[in-house]
């Protein structure tokens, strides 16, 4: 029976700033056009490059994502809009599926606050998975705006980096053409430096969870990712992660825990259920367990991944002794970041996945792995069953559950709860009193 050791805890202070940034960028996504800036639709654009054109905001295809995840009936309508057009729900990424539904309903260009039209200037996507690339194509066609997809191979090597760098370089001319603006190398270089820095800092926030007790939990790290995704090219976001890192490092030094108790450390592999964000964390907290590591929660960071599968935060530019001086410098670094240091672009490198999952679990001292077999995401689910066997071979117990990241119709809470409770009991845990 695990002992429920008590630790001090306190709320995370940077939470307020996080909320402020989230609000600011959410507002910008709708108002940027009228403020003279550009609006780019994308899931995961090469943000620093767009910054070379000046002020811009990124809007995802499913611009009503938050509302949809809070209101299952609304989400269902978006899925049904895609179904009605013939996009097969069970055969596609469930996140892209409802986002395509929103594109078809015209919502990507309709301000949710005023109901008026707020156009997108262009689609600029990276092929971090084929679902995103194919959705970019559909979104561009349906909205009648130009689109460009940068193909990023899920394979290592100099040739892959050159291929990506070549496309990134070509995209500059395209960006100028479709925006009618002149690309400013200085702005790009500056944005690239910020973007790299925020990625390193985010990864370092994740690394602090190696401490016992973990200063915050994995889902809190994940919640911190939003500014990095929407404004990661800006100085203010890089500064936010400086602040967040300093705070979690202080917590780790002082032994401040995420929730006051840590009976067991867990990893979560696979995408989260966006419509039930709190389900997993709260479920295990009832047993005093804490999630300390996982793939999607950490993949906003920039990591150096060793051949033995070990994840370490990537070095800062200063630590590398690197000063970006030109467009070419920044392009090379961006290509390197996408091919080598961004885990989401490695999710189909299946030959490396089991090793990395095991190594991460060991280094973060996880005592059990909960694996999401995501009906709605082939990329993240690929390799998971081999990773599961690798974990078991290393003596790390595992359990899988099935649902999809963006369709609650694929989620049966009672069944998942049953599986997880049995698993937690197998780990020797019991409900906290």
């Amino acid at each position: 029976m695990a002992v429920a050791t008590r630790y001090p805890t306190r709320p995370l202070e940077c939470w307020g700033k996080l909320r402020e940034l989230r609000r600011k960028y959410a507002k910008q996504a709708w108002e940027m056009g009228e403020q003279g800036g550009l609006v780019v639709a994308a899931q995961l654009p090469a943000m620093p490059l767009v910054a070379g054109l000046g002020e811009f905001a990124r809007r995802i295809y499913g611009a009503y994502f938050g509302k949809a995840m809070r209101e299952p009936e609304v989400l269902r309508q978006f899925h049904e809009a895609a179904d009605a057009r013939g996009f097969a729900r069970g055969d596609m990424c469930s996140s892209m599926h409802h986002q395509i539904g929103q594109v078809l309903l015209g919502l990507t260009q309709t301000d949710p606050f005023s109901g008026i039209s707020r156009p997108v200037d262009f689609v600029f996507e990276t092929n971090f998975c084929h679902s995103a690339a194919k959705t970019a194509q559909i979104a561009g066609e349906v909205m009648g705006v130009p689109y460009f997809v940068v193909d990023v191979p899920h394979i290592e090597g100099e040739a892959a980096r050159r291929y990506v760098a070549g496309q990134l370089m070509d995209s500059i001319g395209w960006l100028e053409e479709v925006s009618g603006r002149t690309f400013d190398d200085g702005k790009f270089v500056e944005a690239m430096a910020h973007w790299w820095h925020r990625g390193v800092l985010y990864a370092r926030v994740g690394e602090t969870l190696k401490a016992i007790p973990a200063p915050i939990d994995y889902w809190q790290v994940r919640a911190l990712r939003v500014p990095a995704q929407v404004g990661g090219h800006t100085a203010e976001v890089a500064e936010f992660y400086e602040m967040a890192l300093a705070e979690v490092e202080d917590r780790a030094r002082e032994g401040i825990s995420a929730f006051g108790v840590e009976t067991c450390r867990l990893s979560h592999e696979g995408e989260e259920m966006f419509y039930a964000e709190k389900f997993m964390g709260e479920m295990v907290q009832r047993y005093g367990a804490v999630f300390v590591v996982g793939d999607t929660g950490f993949n906003t960071g920039l990591w150096h991944i060793d051949e033995d599968g070990s994840w370490k935060s990537a070095p800062t530019l200063k630590e590398m002794g690197l000063t970006l001086r030109s467009r070419e410098d920044a392009i090379d670094l961006l290509a390197q970041a996408l091919v080598d240091h961004s885990p989401i672009f490695r999710c189909q490198r299946l030959e490396e996945k089991p090793l990395e999952v095991v190594k991460r679990s060991q280094e973060w001292r996880s005592q059990g792995a909960i694996i999401h077999m995501d009906i709605g995401c082939r990329g993240m689910s690929a390799g998971m069953l081999e990773a599961r066997m690798a974990l078991e071979r290393e003596g790390i117990p595992t359990v899988t559950y099935e649902s999809s990241n963006s369709d609650p119709r694929d989620f049966t809470p009672s069944q998942v709860t049953d599986r997880l409770e049995s698993f937690l009991e197998r780990l020797g845990l019991s409900r906290l009193t």
């Binding site: 057009r85 013939g86 996009f87 097969a88 069970g90 055969d91 596609m92 990424c93 092929n127 084929h130 679902s131 690339a133 194919k134 959705t135 970019a136 194509q137 559909i138 066609e141 997809v149 940068v150 193909d151 191979p153 899920h154 394979i155 040739a159 892959a160 050159r162 291929y163 070549g166 496309q167 070509d170 189909q348 299946l350 030959e351 077999m373 009906i375 082939r378 990329g379 689910s381 690929a382 390799g383 998971m384 069953l385 081999e386 066997m389």
Partner: protein, 374 residues
């Protein structure tokens, strides 16, 4: 109606598919060469063939199986699970190597689990660019072709000579030309070759020594079938599909599949390698310049115009989508391409395949579809 010679020639292709494992084993014994299995039509076979290796496409068995559940998620396409089952069951135990050209995460998982649990002497993974329109795509893929060449040279202990590569390119190009001639026989009304027969000939090409296949093709084309029964002229658009049964079913219910678009049909042999200049570059260029699969159509769409062009060229009356369940690359494009056909006034039918699904359930839908043409 097929002449005796044509029937015998066609039967050889059909038998080769059924007896593919025996064929490969016999080839090995006869030549002393190595056999490599591959999963996708983007593997540059010429390089392996030039080194004396026989590349054979790994196919499923269309039988129920329970070997893959521990390795591959049930929501991955049935084709990927079926081919992995073949590997895990030991049916391909004669393979000396596996080569995988990244087509999708589904098949990559099959390759990876096979490699882990049924190790082979030689395994090699190469990336295939998706943005084939990019000027950087061919140089990148060429780098992959050169890496495959170097790895295969090290494995076989033979250097790749320009003459051997030239000969291999020539043999493969001849095969493509002969298959194109065969496809020409599908253009008249009624076509002289049925969709099922054409599919068997192409699938057999993926399983046999190309020089031998060329010989068989010469013999078939010297005595081609006179005419088929014909029927409603159909284009079959699909995911990876080694399922001749579904084509037979379509043709038994009044359809005549006069052209298809899939990687075990036209996309396997369309376009030749240019014999000029650096041959490895030319090989790389051919694979990226041939009609793309949906996974490689992420820029301004090319598949829509290619497919509507095929429909016109082969004078089709209707289009049947044969989509593997859970195949997401195709799922993203079916509604778009379906609309393009409907805009041309061509009726469409979507059938979702699972490798072990009994055909009976498709029968009613196909019959209803065929009634549209009465």
């Amino acid at each position: 109606m097929a002449s005796v010679e044509a029937a015998a020639a066609l039967d050889r292709f059909s038998r080769t598919i059924k007896e593919r494992h025996d064929y490969a084993r016999a080839w090995k014994e006869r030549t002393g060469g190595k056999v490599v299995g591959y999963f996708c039509s983007y593997v540059p076979e010429e390089v392996l063939y030039a080194l004396g290796v026989l590349p054979v496409r790994v196919l499923g068995s269309h039988e129920p199986q329970d070997l893959t559940e521990r390795h591959i998620f049930g929501m991955f396409c049935p084709y990927s699970r079926d081919v992995l089952a073949q590997g895990l069951s030991g049916r391909y135990d004669y393979l000396d190597g596996l080569v995988f050209a990244h087509c999708c995460p589904h098949i990559r998982q099959s390759y990876e689990s096979w490699r882990i649990h049924r190790p082979v002497e030689f395994s090699h993974l190469m990336w295939v660019p998706s943005m084939v329109q990019s000027p950087h795509a061919v140089p990148f893929f060429e780098d992959g072709v050169r890496k495959l060449t170097a790895a295969a040279e090290a494995w076989t202990g033979k250097p790749l000579s320009p003459d051997a590569l030239g000969q291999a390119v020539s043999t493969y190009n001849l095969n493509r030309r002969l298959l194109a001639q065969l496809y020409g026989l599908r253009k008249p009304e009624p076509p002289t070759v049925t969709g099922t027969q054409a599919m068997e000939v192409v699938i057999a090409s993926t399983l046999t020594d190309k020089a031998e296949h060329n010989q068989w093709l010469h013999e078939l084309l010297a005595h081609p079938p006179q005419a088929s029964e014909g029927g409603v002229r159909l284009l079959a658009v699909g995911s990876e599909n080694d399922d001749t049964g579904i084509i037979q079913l379509l043709e038994s219910l009044g359809g005549s599949v006069v052209i298809e678009d899939n990687c075990l049909g036209n996309r396997y042999f369309w376009d030749e390698v240019s014999p000029d200049g650096d041959l490895l570059s030319a090989v790389a260029a051919r694979y990226l310049e041939k009609p793309p699969c949906p996974q490689r159509d992420i820029g301004p769409r090319v598949r829509t115009s290619f497919l509507t062009g095929l429909a016109r060229e082969y004078d089709v009356q209707g289009v049947v989508f044969l989509r593997q369940k859970f195949c997401d690359p195709h799922a993203y494009e079916v509604p778009i391409i379906q609309q393009a056909f409907q805009d041309l006034g061509l009726p469409t039918l979507i059938l979702e395949l699972d490798v072990t699904t009994p055909y009976g359930q498709y029968r009613t839908r196909i019959e209803a579809f065929m009634e549209m043409f009465l």
